[in-house]
Symmetry: C2
Subunit: 208 residues, 2 copies
């Protein structure tokens, strides 16, 4: 079994990583489930890949960034101010932030907010979230819903948005979703096509 | 306080029920919150309105239908077969159905599957679901996502779909959502416009 884990790690991170990785992942998922049940500590790397990457900042310098889950301390690092670049997001008190944080943590693997922190400034410069909707359809399958993807205006162009979206897609795959969906303005269609999405339907909204 | 409850009930179900009810509901929400905290048993009717209605069946006869939450016994009443008219929904064993049912019940008010049972045949003839996504945006507000709305082919045309959607909208309002959204094919745009929705964005999808 341990050899299988090493083999899977090599395939996912080695020279084959750029070719047809989605298909390799799908074929290996049943094996991964066995692996995870037997050796959970050994498979964390496989279940949450691509969290470290280098990107060029606006000053031309390359910096190593890390995608990680939202933490309570991110309230003081500009998380809600960043969301304010996407939609209305008035300031929250520490207790309001912590209460909503607790609501979401209680959902476990069914909700995940990813963030990228700039190691130089200590500010949150990119975020995106996914929640997993459990269905009866398709043999009790699940759908991943990506929401609230935003990259700080000052750091756009470094593919941080694409990294965040890919990370969220990987999470949806890891929990067995059969698809991941999102709604966006028509202007962002091209961006999401680069992430592997295709236009599917229309989004309807009713505001109260 | 009791007088207030009676007044609200009269407004929501009386002669004013057809005029600008959305606005009345919004104005009364703060009062409803106080009411619910003080007299929870008395306000159930207000929090889940419009569950009983008459509709014409294909044979021309009017029947009284009731919208209610999905129950375990609905597995034997054709619930998954009805979903199969919407998308792939292979048969589920009783234990598979109960396991997914338990997953969703554990989400409490954040997930609700509505069904309509035909009182004559005992079959489920319409369904729709809503899940509540909690956000940090807009002062820790929430969004209602409507999914999997389907009416049995043999009973379409009796406005059951619109009743289900209105019921789900009311649930979203009752838990304080600032909007409700859904994705649909372009052909269903007109149907959802009749329910009060407007086209907002494009839906992108990535299938695994």
């Amino acid at each position: 079994m341990q050899n299988s884990i090493i083999l899977i790690s090599c395939i996912l991170t080695g020279p084959f990583a750029t070719i047809n990785k989605h298909q390799i992942f799908r074929v290996l998922m049943p094996l991964l489930h066995i692996t995870c049940a037997s050796f959970p500590a050994l498979t964390i790397k496989i279940m949450a890949p691509k969290t470290l990457f280098e990107a060029e900042k606006t000053n031309g310098h390359k910096t190593e960034f890390k995608i990680r889950q939202l933490e309570i301390s991110d309230h003081a690092k500009g998380f809600t101010e960043l969301l304010g670049q996407l939609s209305q997001c008035p300031s929250l008190s520490q207790s309001e932030f912590e209460a909503r944080f607790a609501d979401l943590v209680a959902l476990g693997d069914d909700h995940h907010i990813a963030v990228v922190e700039d190691p130089t400034s200590g500010r949150i410069i990119a975020t995106g979230s996914i929640f997993i909707e459990k269905k009866f359809l398709r043999g009790c399958s699940s759908v991943g819903h990506i929401e609230d993807v935003v990259v700080d205006k000052a750091t756009r162009g470094g593919h941080l948005g694409q990294r965040i979206v890919n990370y969220l897609i990987d999470r949806a795959k890891a929990v067995g979703c059969y698809k991941v969906i999102l709604d966006c303005t028509p202007e962002l269609r091209v961006f999401y096509e680069k992430c592997g999405f295709v236009e599917k339907n229309v989004q309807m909204a009713l505001y109260f």
